[in-house]
Symmetry: C2
């Protein structure tokens, strides 16, 4: 029989990610037991009701007997949640998180440092556009990357703790990568934060075009717009905090995006079909690389909902 990686974990914040860690940890025997806390009593009791773990009434109670504590709250709430947790954690245990920004979170958590507690920031690159405990499912992390940004100056105990945490994520089905927080934040600004910002923006633009009725936008959304609304349906609080906490990297990437868009706009204005064709052809190549890397399937998806199935 497989023995769990951690005897007990604590999940602080029982939304999609926290709930899915709990489900996956139980299904795949990565944790022997799960303690839960959520600042919203209704969310906490719902999470316990659907089998995500044992509800505890304070953060301190949830973390006291845990080997690893997962902060699964919006980036802007990490400092408060970490502060409530760390004082009650036992020596040798791990404090980690799942925030989409690592530089600011790592700084905040490290400012709380307490001897014997291993602070190892993390970020599973997985999610859906749904929120809340009922959206959680145990296969969410399968085949997905999880990035850990451990302190490079950590001692042997710290390194052993980092390896244990990596093993936990591997048990959930993830592939684990390590990098520094700054590189994480720039890579994610490109692959995640910019796409979400652009998706939110395009939805806002469509809504504000007085010359086009919202009914028409909804009706003809299958022409491409629909795909943007899916990622723009993600949790607003989480995303607000991402942009407030990864400002520099997002603004840098956004500047590049804007320069490129200006070039495309000029090509359209001038009727420069060759430039358009070359940019569009190149995009196909990247798509192919993503499919080859196993990060998406080649199945035609654009017309996927014609029959309500698939």
């Amino acid at each position: 029989m497989t023995s769990p990686v951690f005897e007990r974990i604590a999940i602080i914040g029982c939304g999609l990610i926290g709930g899915s860690i709990s489900r996956a940890a139980q299904e795949k025997v990565a944790a022997g037991a799960v303690s839960l806390f959520d600042a919203d009593p209704a969310v906490l009791s719902r999470a316990a009701e659907i089998g995500l773990g044992e509800a505890r009434s304070t953060v301190a109670e949830a973390v006291a007997d845990a080997d690893a504590v997962f902060l699964c709250v919006p980036v802007g709430a990490m400092r408060e949640a970490g502060g409530a947790a760390i004082g009650a954690m036992r020596p040798g245990s791990i404090l980690t998180d799942v925030g989409s920004v690592k530089g600011s979170v790592a700084r905040e958590l490290r400012s709380l440092a307490k001897p014997g507690i291993h602070i190892i920031p993390g970020h599973p690159i997985a999610g859906t556009e749904k929120s809340g405990p009922d959206a959680a499912f145990g296969s969410l992390f399968e085949g997905r990357w999880c990035i850990l940004t451990p302190d490079a100056a950590g001692d042997a105990d710290y390194k052993a703790a980092s390896e244990r945490l990596a093993l936990f994520w591997e048990r959930l089905g993830s592939k684990v990568d390590q990098m520094d927080a700054q590189r994480h934040d720039l890579v994610l600004a490109v692959t995640s934060h910019l796409p979400h910002l652009i998706a939110y923006n395009i939805v806002a633009t469509a809504h504000d075009m007085e010359s086009v009725e919202e009914g028409d936008v909804v009706k003809y959304s299958a022409a491409g717009f629909r795909d943007f609304t899916r990622i723009a349906a993600s949790d607003p609080t989480m995303w607000r905090d991402v942009f407030l906490n990864n400002k520099e990297a997002v603004l840098e990437v956004l500047g590049r995006f804007d320069d490129d868009l200006t070039a495309l706009r000029k090509a359209i204005r001038r009727g420069d079909g060759e430039t358009l064709f070359n940019v569009f052809t190149h995009a196909r190549g990247i798509r192919r690389s993503i499919i080859e890397a196993g990060q998406d399937t080649a199945a035609a998806n654009f017309g996927r909902d014609t029959d309500g199935k698939k």
Copy 2:
């Protein structure tokens, strides 16, 4: 037994859309027979080989005995294809197309006008990111809108022909709408052309960030970027022609998009979380409307490929 809407149709251009019209028309008894032509002999013979219809060696031969001719070529090739077709078409038959831009196509086709031929531009709002005859499938148009932009000044015969064409699309499973070409082009600039342009642009930006390796972009694409590469994998020639032929509407919508993005960028720079939260929350509402309108499913999709299936 159902009788076909048209005894014989001609498909000029045997790619994803032309091929799917043929498949659907045969499966749903919307056409008694299908004649095919494609400028690329290899595409034409492949289309015939996989049962899309009877290959004809010239446009004139393909259209001569057809009740309705469907031009399924890129927007920039419509004029030439229409010119090759119309002279050989018989009186009372319909010349239609499936182009994503209607103003320029309608002007070009009408400049070819020949008495007794009913020119009725059309646009099925359906597609996938795949191209070519092998990508064709018969259910592509089910539940999707098809927009026709008939000439409002048409006589009784013309109106009867328009109704017959609408019936054909309904037989394929589409819902049919009629509007003028200008409104079509503005609505589609918002719901389709802008999203595709932005998707192409974001892929180009990601590729050109020297500070981020392409390997990282591909590896972590599941964080949001992936969804953009899907629509950016669409046919480059088709999309080049869309932007060259719907220039004014696209530039108008792009200007609005840019203004909105500048506002979001300022909010990020200033740390204005309230503005970000409000824009993001609003986007969720539009998503809900699209699901309620049956144009997408509510199923969580972002994490869809964790197991290589669904």
